[in-house]
Symmetry: C2
DNA sequence: CTCATATATGATAATCCTATCAGCGGATTC
DNA sequence: GAATCCGCTGATAGGATTATCATATATGAG
């Protein structure tokens, strides 16, 4: 096909619309980007956003310093990207954990227990959540919509009864972060997830007996971390 | 430096043990130190510790830049000092609020309500607590001992019943910070303090009726902010 | 009034961090 | 296998921040 070497002239206007990219260059590019995002995520989790330098990120990612700016305009930009990924992953996690549950109380318990357990099984994610929340209010912003939906569902079902929805949501979110923090410090008891869920359910108006029962139900199986 | 004229009987000075501080030098020194601490506190509250520069502190304090290092070895040192002051003031505040109360449930409610209201009436203190907590876990560390004592007292009195004390404490502390954050954002309802206290009491095992009743009791009068 | 001491001050040096840039090397095309 | 494209790379400039230091100012003593 094609003779005529596309030389000097402006010629090659061949690029049409999409230009799909099985290209290997593109693959390599995305690999570097991924390494940077993973490194940034790990460092943000370990030491917080404010205390992480760009050269630390490229070092951890094992790429050249200059590569950073091939993919992100600034530190702010990579923070934004990490936040976006994290929020998306949180959304998926919550959705998959609570997908098959009917009882609103059980949904709330499962969601809270999932995050408490996440702090134990994947401390990096846990720290990331805590640290991002400190600088970006991510926790409440990401969990908020889900939590609100579940709380309202429970109220409609007559299962929950709270004096004020907004206060209840922020209290529950804060409580979750607090317990996660203790888990991350390694000092929380082994079944902190159940105890915490029980507390939240009580706060939401369940009787002590009901709260204990729901919080004790077996957790639905969750597929696998996105990694 | 030159000249060692001052040598010899330096001790001749009258200062015996305490040297109360008739010295004017000392007074001036402490005044500068105080200005620096107040400025640092305000800035930490306004923009967080990590985003505060030393020249901002000296500027806000209206002292020369170099003066900073006459009083603190580093930024870390002044953060430490601010934290210490803050924790001490918190301790006093909690003690004075709960001094005259007998019912352990009412003590817990008053303490939580005090802090929620503090976020509204003195946002600077509120932000300081939140921001310092983000970088130093101050909130839980400072409130912990009081909260633990009150929780245990309530359990002994048969008023509280929790599955796990530690988890309950961290959940309550986290919930408080969450609600305070919402108040500081200006979006919490006016009576957030009562609603939050009610939620905490429920979490601690009070019935919905009892929790609502205790949370509604009038707050004991608190003397005056230390300023 | 003059000296001695202690504190305050801003200019400056030293350091750290971000963002840029010109060149390198692998990969693809012909 | 030569030409060319594209992302990778480290050195470095530019800017910001911290800590130091010599001097200025204020206080108290003689």
């Amino acid at each position: 096909m094609s003779s005529d070497a596309a030389s000097g002239e402006a010629a090659s206007s061949v690029e049409m619309h999409t230009a799909p990219r099985p290209d290997r260059h593109t693959r390599r590019r995305e690999q570097t980007r991924r390494k940077l995002l993973d490194a940034a995520r790990a460092l943000f989790a370990r030491q917080g956003v404010e205390n992480t330098r760009i050269n630390e990120i490229t070092d951890e990612a094992d790429v050249g310093f200059g590569s950073f700016y091939n993919h992100f305009d600034s530190k702010e930009a990579i923070v934004e990207a990490v936040v976006e990924e994290t929020v998306a992953a949180q959304g998926d996690a919550v959705a998959s954990v609570t997908a098959d549950l009917d009882d609103p109380a059980e949904v709330v318990a499962a969601a809270h227990r999932y995050f408490v357990n996440l702090a134990r099984s994947d401390p990096e994610w846990g720290w990331l959540l805590i640290r991002l929340d400190a600088s970006q209010k991510i926790g409440l912003r990401a969990l908020g919509p889900f939590a609100q939906r579940d709380l309202e569902r429970g109220i409609r079902a007559g299962r929950f009864r709270v004096a004020n929805k907004r206060v209840a949501l922020f209290a529950a979110g804060g409580a979750l972060l607090g317990v996660m923090g203790d888990v991350l410090d390694g000092r929380a008891p082994k079944d902190a997830d159940r105890h915490h869920a029980e507390g939240v359910l009580r706060m939401f108006g369940l009787s002590g007996k009901d709260a204990a029962e729901v919080a004790r139900r077996p957790m639905p199986q969750v597929p696998a971390p996105v990694s």
